[in-house]
Amino acid sequence: MLLYQAFIIGLYAAWGKWFGIYGSFGQVMPFFFTPVLAILLGKSPVDALMIDAAIALAFYGVMQIGAVMPQDTGFGGTLGLGFALILNQKPAIAVALAVPISMLAVVVWNLLKFWFTTNVEVFDKYIDERNMKKFNRLWWIQMAVYILTYFLLAFLAVLLGTHGIKAFVTSIPKPFLSGLTVAAGMLPAVGMGMLLKYVWNIEFLPFFIAGFLLGAYLKLPIMAISLFGVVFGLIMFFIDRHINDVKKSNQAQAVTAGPSTDDDEGDFFNE
């Protein structure tokens, strides 16, 4: 019985993880699958909805306050609902049961993302080898591992029970978790380096500095910095065009000794 329940809840949790990302559909379909879970577990869909609403409300609150440690409230909520249904518990208990699991899920997600991060270089390698097959294979392996991980996590959580989960969470050494978070925060630097490598040209240096200064000193959000980037880009575009006009006009002159007509440049930027 418990095995079946664990299996169903595992499936449900994995499905939730998949559906939460695919087309971002999960985001705009709240409570859609709650009744389904209830039916699969042989419980009342109406009760399930009421419990799930209570959990959602509680996590609303948690998100407002800003919990000390980040939580995967979606996954936690799913498990909370599951426990509540199979143990016939009150919503309040469901929330309490959800907390340690939602914290564990964050750690697991961090580890997954680290693994995806190291895989990036493997993808790079496959591209260098021009091997699309391997590229796709790794992609699907990642997908599978991603889904399977959450399935197993939920499955084991139900089997172990909340006490087991709590014990496991508290046994993870804190420095390890901190190191993980710090490294995760630093890693985008590699991505930035990569981006720079693609677009770099020494003539862009001033704009790079400007972007950094706008972010670091004036604390502008990316939206504003992007728009300032557009300002710079457009200014340079028009200056370039002016210089180019002179160049072309003089080249034309050198050939025909007559003034060139530079107004047939298309109307895109001349509206």
Partner: protein, 284 residues
């Protein structure tokens, strides 16, 4: 030929059936953008997986260019997935121009620049609307229904989905059309080089800004020297706020540019994070 966009008399572009197929493919694949994000490229790998079949079609005669495009597009990328159609459509139209252009006459840095420049504003709008407003409203109403156990809550999804799907489809289609129309024109007029420079400038500016706001180097070390607090983070902030994220990023850039193995750079950064944390210098 049916694989060319045609411009009708009233200047509305019609997609060829070939293009339509590609558009649909892209639409469905774009659903997958959010999976398997990495710390270093975020949605970069997903972008490539999504666009691979489209690139294949575009560069069907030129495997070199196909693989070059794959390599190039694996770069850092991150936006609200719902909004990605807009960037995707434009990017594809630019790749098409690149395919047509003789070797080395189309500067692909412009594609990168465009992607970097758009992803921020798109995320600003998308996250606010989809994650902020729309999802909040739907969940709010949904809780109302669910609290009383009303199964009608399931119908709410019919209201929730359309904005998501419409922006994905029309965003992608319209931006592709726009790109096809103007970008090929710009190439002919010789404006494309300057346009590329301009988009690259946008990109570089945004990278500068992202380093300041996205890369974290959280120092926690502090000590007391005869009762005076010595806070390491403050020392660096006094020199220049964000100096460590800047040095770290520029460091990575220099190493990558010198041809250092990216895996090593990556492992180096991870190691740095762990070591400094174990030493009590950084922390979370």
């Amino acid at each position: 030929m049916n694989n060319k966009t045609t411009t009708t008399k009233d200047n509305k572009m019609q997609l060829s059936s070939e293009e339509m197929k590609m558009t649909k493919k892209l639409f469905w694949r774009n659903m997958w953008l959010g999976y398997c994000m990495s710390y270093t490229r975020q949605q970069g790998v997903a972008w490539d997986w999504i666009h691979a079949p489209v690139y294949k079609k575009i560069y069907k005669d030129d495997p070199d260019k196909f693989w070059e495009a794959m390599k190039r597009n694996m770069e850092f990328y991150n936006t609200t997935p719902n909004m990605n159609g807009i960037v995707s459509g434009l990017a594809v139209s630019m790749e098409q121009e690149n395919a047509k252009a003789p070797a080395d006459t189309f500067d692909t840095a412009g594609i990168s620049g465009m992607k970097i420049g758009l992803m921020g504003p798109m995320a600003g709008i998308g996250d606010t609307f989809f994650a902020g407003v729309w999802s909040l409203i739907l969940t709010g109403i949904g809780i109302g229904f669910a609290k009383s156990g009303n199964l009608a809550v399931m119908l709410l999804s019919l209201v929730g989905l359309p904005p998501n799907i419409l922006i994905r489809w029309y965003g992608q289609k319209y931006s592709y059309k726009l790109g096809s129309k103007y970008i090929s024109k710009a190439v002919q007029d010789g404006l494309m080089t300057m346009f590329t420079r301009a988009t690259s400038i946008v990109g570089v500016t945004v990278v500068g800004g992202m380093i300041a706001s996205l890369v974290k180097f959280p120092l926690v070390f502090k000590t007391k020297i005869n009762g005076t607090e010595f806070v390491l983070q403050k020392v660096f902030d006094q020199i220049m706020p964000g100096i460590l994220p800047l040095l770290l990023s520029v460091g990575c850039f220099v190493l990558l540019r010198k041809g250092k193995n990216p895996v090593l750079v990556l492992l180096g950064v991870v190691a740095l994070g762990f070591i400094l944390t174990f030493l009590g210098i950084t922390g979370a």
